[in-house]
Symmetry: C2
């Protein structure tokens, strides 16, 4: 099959690789209808993460089940499914506690930017729609494989509740989905920290009531002013750098929680400030499967439209262009159609 592979920094190719096959009786194979590029794919793309030369890349997709192992009970050929980027049995102790991303049988989507994808523990991992979904819903359904669920996890981890003032640090696809999540969870005021006009517009469309374009200390000051010197009730950290984490802790009011979902790179947590101000940290790799039933309902009812984060759609052959567009921030998020 054709799959996206990475061979070095900024060296993305569409290659011919062996198609995935059922390896365990709980596996399923999904024919990819749409995949996409994640902000976290840019870490290896930029050479900031180690690269396993020639390996497939891409962990988000939706598609149609084409084969199932002998023990898969809930899915069969032809089912349209969302594939969470972390697979889980959804029955182990960690899953039962809502930490499906740390499932004892954890697996990963390894070829989301490809023609086929392999899913472990299909019964636990997948969710399906009733029949094939309307075409215009595909982007939003695709967002559930990672970014919408990840933004949701940031908001849940930060403890957003009815009436909260929530601040979203980061205006990538996850941050923008975090705005949707904060709004759905009842935040009264949602501050999007973004300096890109197109992203600011989308943030407002998703429910942001305020936009702070400044960064660093100026941005922190702006948030403190917006909150009457108190700070935010909930901060969604959707970047993962040391600078964004510092901002998150600087604007979180005492007694609040920073919900973090950006893969940490060069982060040193301010433990003394956390202690003195009673600001907690929660979050991590999103337990996508935990939120999927609820998020699928919201998408199918057209209550939320996270698919708007896809502002560029390319045929799979042009995946390298997609990476370039995201790297140069010309696109928020790129959808790929095999």
């Amino acid at each position: 099959m054709r799959a996206t592979t990475i061979h070095g920094p900024r060296d993305i190719r569409l290659s011919e690789v062996p198609a995935p096959a059922i390896a365990a009786p709980t596996d399923a194979i999904v024919k990819v209808v749409a995949g996409c590029i994640c902000g976290s794919d840019l870490w290896p793309y930029r050479g900031e993460n180690p690269i396993d030369e020639g390996s497939t890349i891409g962990h988000e997709c939706i598609g149609v089940v084409v084969e199932t192992g002998s023990e898969v009970r809930r899915f069969r050929e032809g089912d349209f499914v969302v594939v969470p980027f972390v697979h889980c049995d959804n029955t182990c102790a960690h899953c039962r506690h809502g930490a499906q991303s740390a499932c004892m049988e954890q697996g990963w989507t390894e070829s989301g930017q490809a023609e086929y994808s392999h899913v472990t523990h299909a019964d636990g991992s997948l969710v399906k729609t009733d029949g094939p979904p309307d075409d215009d819903l595909l982007p939003s359904l695709l967002s559930l494989a990672d970014v919408m669920a990840t933004g949701w996890h940031a908001a849940v981890s930060a403890g957003v509740e009815k009436g909260s003032t929530a601040v979203v640090v980061g205006d990538g696809a996850v941050g923008l989905c975090g705005v949707i999540a904060a709004q759905q969870l009842g935040a009264e005021r949602i501050v999007a920290m973004s300096r890109h006009e197109s992203r600011q517009r989308l943030a407002r469309e998703f429910g942001a009531t305020d936009v702070v374009a400044e960064r660093g200390e100026a941005g922190e000051q702006a948030v403190l002013e917006l909150t009457g010197g108190v700070g935010a009730d909930a901060v969604l950290e959707c970047v993962g750098t040391g600078a964004s984490m510092d901002t998150a802790f600087a604007i979180a009011r005492p007694g609040s929680t920073v919900g973090f979902v950006g893969v940490p790179h060069g982060v040193e947590l301010p433990v003394r400030r956390m202690f003195q101000k009673n600001v907690g940290l929660a979050g991590g790799i999103a337990p996508v499967r935990r939120y999927l039933p609820e998020l699928l309902d919201l998408v199918l009812a057209r209550t939320i439209d996270p698919g708007k984060v896809f502002d560029l759609t390319l045929p799979l052959e042009e995946v390298a262009d997609g990476y370039r567009a995201m790297d140069e921030r010309r696109a928020i998020k790129v959808m790929l159609r095999p």
Copy 2:
């Protein structure tokens, strides 16, 4: 008045210093009935914190109000009060959110090991008993000024709930009070990590169902075995060193929270592990005032008896002996009577 002062590492003296006076109309002066030595007093005592030579030390006391400022409404001469080690107005935005230890009008008890103590924002800070309490209740009432409320904060921050498996890291007075808190909050299994027999005994008396005497990796393995390889639902970190924090994160199950109340010294938080396992961190300086009404009821009803952490009572004159006893771990906690 006579007050305990610190002059250098291991140099504790009882000195004559000016008695505190009303400085603001919201102040009160309390005649100390009992004060005590805190584990955190040992940081400067051991020279691990900077010392302001000749300054008073000691932040925990109970006593009788002897003078109030003109704006104090809720207290008057003769009231028996618990003095939280952090003072607060209990009305600002942070206090209303339960973060009284980060009150915008924050003040501190500065002479708890002395004859008199000065309380700022008395109306917000203090709680009183109905009339003078029974003498045998004094130790438990004194524990409410810090350690019992701090152990409670660890348990609340760690999210202990009915049926939880809670692990308490640290067998000092705070850790032991953490055991009480975990039990009151409904934990089904409470593991005390302690290698001192007398403290193990007290932990069991307070509700610990299991004791792990090992430290470091061996201790972590022991807890994992006790929990069937899953890890703890809630971890109370009651020490504050790098080693104890590492243990806390090693034994917390994915999706759980480490509640930390030990003043961090040399702690580097394992942000990647936190991210990968979805283990959060919450807590900090205990908002004592928030918990006081509830804890006072529990003590007065004799439902809890945290006063048992005081295993040595000395006259104030012998305060230097008290420090030595705690430093050498001959005493869990020392009560001082002026």
